[in-house]
Amino acid sequence: MDAFLNQVFAGLATGGIYASVALALVMIYQATHLVNFAQGELAMFSTYIAWTLIDAGMPYWAAFFLTVVIAFVLGVLIERIIVRPVERAPVLSVVVVFIGLLVIFNSLAGWIYSYTIKVFPSPFPKEPVHIGSHFFSAHQIGAVGVTLVVLGLLYAFFRYTPLGLAMRAAAQNPDSSRLVGIRVGWMLALGWGLASAIGAVAGMMVAPVVYLDPNMMAGILLYAFAAALVGGVDSPGGAVLGGFLVGVLENLLGAYVIGNELKLAFALVLIVGVLVVRPSGLFGKVHVTRV
């Protein structure tokens, strides 16, 4: 029972990472109907920035918040400089741009930092925490906590602030948004900034577990895709739940059924399965196209 609970909890901890990256994907998808394949590499690169700051002697939390800000600015700049010129280009061109970004960030990280893995610190204690008779890793509890705080802040931002409302409006109905005076282009750029910032948090939370290397996010991006699809690719709440669900399932299947080596295959099976059986996901809207 103890082992089982620990597996579930470990699943929630990684699930929070998937949920964050899935949410970043869904935010951009909702606004542009495009999947940003470079989302994971952007998160990885941001984590290297954090590593550099910490390595230079900056206290952990200062480096953490500075990295979030840098990642936000980086996201905004990428949208303004690289994505915006291809805004009206065919989908395939945009996909090529995204894949180009993916490769560039991966190579850039490898070139600057080398491909050897680095240890990334956790801000949480090394000793396990016991709750009742159970022992949990402090980093896992901390990572879930940080994820929940980020998700809560985002929810409050979109739900209760005028800017959050304007961003939702711009994603849904750009023409009507312009007619009420919303600068739709900037809302898209802000969306990229937020998505990039969320990814940076996810990267910093997962790096102490998987270690830091330029390919750190590849598998995670696949799980995040699966999570976004399970939840419904146009539902932010669904993507978050999907993330936690995929994290727990992955961990339980890995521990008890298929073993760790086949876990990544599970993500693929899930992606294909959802696409075939229920393309709109658990919480997504079913789109009926009139012919």
């Binding site: 409302l165 939702r168 849904q172 023409d175 009420v180 005076g181």
Partner: protein
């Protein structure tokens, strides 16, 4: 007195398709001016041209200043509110959020909060439905919402694109009565686009008739009503 809106030699095109071929019209401050014409004449395109939503050439002045080179988002900030063709509802947002977006560019936040009550006094139905997702409102309610969203700007000029379209006559009457009240009590000038010429001419002071991208007739609403060609083709008597 100079006109509030002055349009001259306005051309507009969708890519290679040229739709407006040099339109001239003007609108006096405080008036209700109607643009009439059959389906496909170019009425919607004219309104979209005023808000820089299509490629245009020609001159547009508003309140004495040229605006044809401005972006849609900046034209709104001058006090031009547009109720677009198809109503432009934010279907996934609540009624209240739709209204809040209408006031997006306003800085006087306290007055915006009071304006919700002003709007709900005109359209009590919207108050009942204020937490409901706007896409689930009826056609008439969505038209009321579209007009209200525009009024939340506290505009100087209201552009209305076929507010009667697809609605029951009783609802149309209700909306038109409120338009008249708003024009009279709040001094909002209105440019009204309609296929329903009879209703529009009852409401308007002045009217222009558009056929295939050109103004073919203009005058006071009474003169237009008396015109034989208009009576035959647009009023049906």
């Amino acid at each position: 007195m100079a006109a509030l809106l002055e349009v001259s030699n306005l051309h507009a095109a969708y890519g290679p398709t040229r739709v407006l071929h040099g339109i001239d019209f003007s609108l006096e401050e405080g008036s209700i001016t109607a643009l009439l014409g059959a389906n496909g004449a170019g009425k919607t395109t004219t309104l979209r041209a005023l808000c820089a939503m299509v490629q245009t050439s020609g001159e547009i002045s508003f309140g004495g200043a040229r605006i044809e080179a401005k972006a849609t988002e900046d034209i709104v900030r001058l006090g031009i509110a547009h109720v677009p063709d198809g109503r432009g509802t934010f279907v996934n947002l609540s009624t209240e959020e739709n209204l809040r977006l209408g006031a997006y560019v306003r800085k006087d936040k306290r007055a915006v909060e009071q304006d919700f009550e002003r709007i709900y006094a005109y359209f009590p139905r919207l108050k009942e439905r204020r937490h409901q997702q706007a896409g689930t409102l009826s056609g008439g309610e969505q038209q009321m919402l579209a007009v209200s969203r525009a009024l939340m700007l506290r505009p100087r000029l209201l552009l209305l694109d076929e507010p009667s379209f697809g609605l029951a006559p009783l609802i149309v009457r209700e909306i038109f009565d409120i338009m008249r009240a708003i024009n009279q009590s709040e001094k909002v000038s209105i440019l009204l686009v309609e296929q329903n010429a009879a209703m529009a001419l009852d409401l308007a002071d002045h009217a222009y008739l558009i056929e295939t991208g050109r103004v073919v007739l203009s005058g006071s609403a009474d003169e237009i009503k008396q015109n034989d060609a208009v009576r035959r083709s647009y009023l049906g008597y």
